[in-house]
Symmetry: C2
Subunit: 191 residues, 2 copies
Amino acid sequence: MQLDRLVNFHKTVGDKTRLRIIGLLKEGGALHGQAIAGKLGLTPPTISHHITKLKEIDIVYQRRDKNTIYYSLNEKKLALLAEAITRLGDEDMNAELQVTEEEKHNVLNNFIDSNGRLKSIPAQLKKRLIVLEHIIKGLESGKTYPEPEINEHIKKYHEDFATIRREFIMHHFMTRDKGYYELNPKELWLI
Amino acid sequence: MQLDRLVNFHKTVGDKTRLRIIGLLKEGGALHGQAIAGKLGLTPPTISHHITKLKEIDIVYQRRDKNTIYYSLNEKKLALLAEAITRLGDEDMNAELQVTEEEKHNVLNNFIDSNGRLKSIPAQLKKRLIVLEHIIKGLESGKTYPEPEINEHIKKYHEDFATIRREFIMHHFMTRDKGYYELNPKELWLI
DNA sequence: ACCTCCATTAGATAATTATCTAATTAGATT
DNA sequence: AATCTAATTAGATAATTATCTAATGGAGGT
């Protein structure tokens, strides 16, 4: 259930120390554990504890240099998750969009030909989402793609890459930023 | 400190039951306590408890009809608070913008003449914020104002209502929506 | 091999809180 | 006034968790 992820995001972020860490990383860029502990007047184990939680919800990542680990904020993901709550109703509306594996299988059988290409873009939202999910599975999460690369990928399935690319954005499968595309975390997908 | 309010927002919203309530109110409009309890399989006291918390952060309000109280979601406020976390760094930067009552008093003395009008718009951000806060105090929070009414109010202080109105938006004192203006919750103000 | 430096894990404590049942309050209707 | 209905408060319990100190891990440098 996607709700749990959203709950977890807010629960994690609903802590003064963690918000202060986020604030520090936002303005200061990468910082290492002891630096954070110093600035906040807490001990390193405590910071470890909080950083672990922030990494679990995927808004903090790290880079190692010798013995020191520098933590950074993934601002894009933070923004996406922060905004997700305002779409709560929409997601619930999509209870009816919940789909079994069997349904997916049938729809894909109907719309994908023997060469693995899409015969046509389904008009019905539910079916379209199934097909979109199928196509996007060939892309890697976390990676950044230039537009032509996205187009190429989609063309393996269907000529009309522009429409399908737009659908990806519209249904929150991916985000565009300055001509580059990146998969959204799955909990933001409508399927 | 505004941080505490933001912590409190996320802490409140970081609970499965409360997110489910938000989801219900979002799609279903106004609901009364027992209806919510029924839909979620919980008892009325439990719902009371959660609704109280949601009212505390001001994203739920109520309307009484006979014995029944209907609860609704304030979607606009929810969106504003949800987005606030992405501006955390900015706010921390404004630690230096923290201002004593005495400073406020001095700045207002310098910029407000004996008729209560603004002599000039301060160029320095800190002073401008003090003056903006002073002007906005004449408006009611929670009320919706058409643009001309905002203009009239500002003109009581200064001719250049357009500049000042724009500053109100820019510094998150208020929000414009389809030509109507409304004060933001104070925790979003930069002062 | 030893030492140093950071980060993490283990374990303990104290505080917070979601939920229930039972009791009470507050309006509205008879 | 008496009663009905919905909401809230009181009190108890069980679960979660932020923080600390002490111990362990792990990667470099001497």
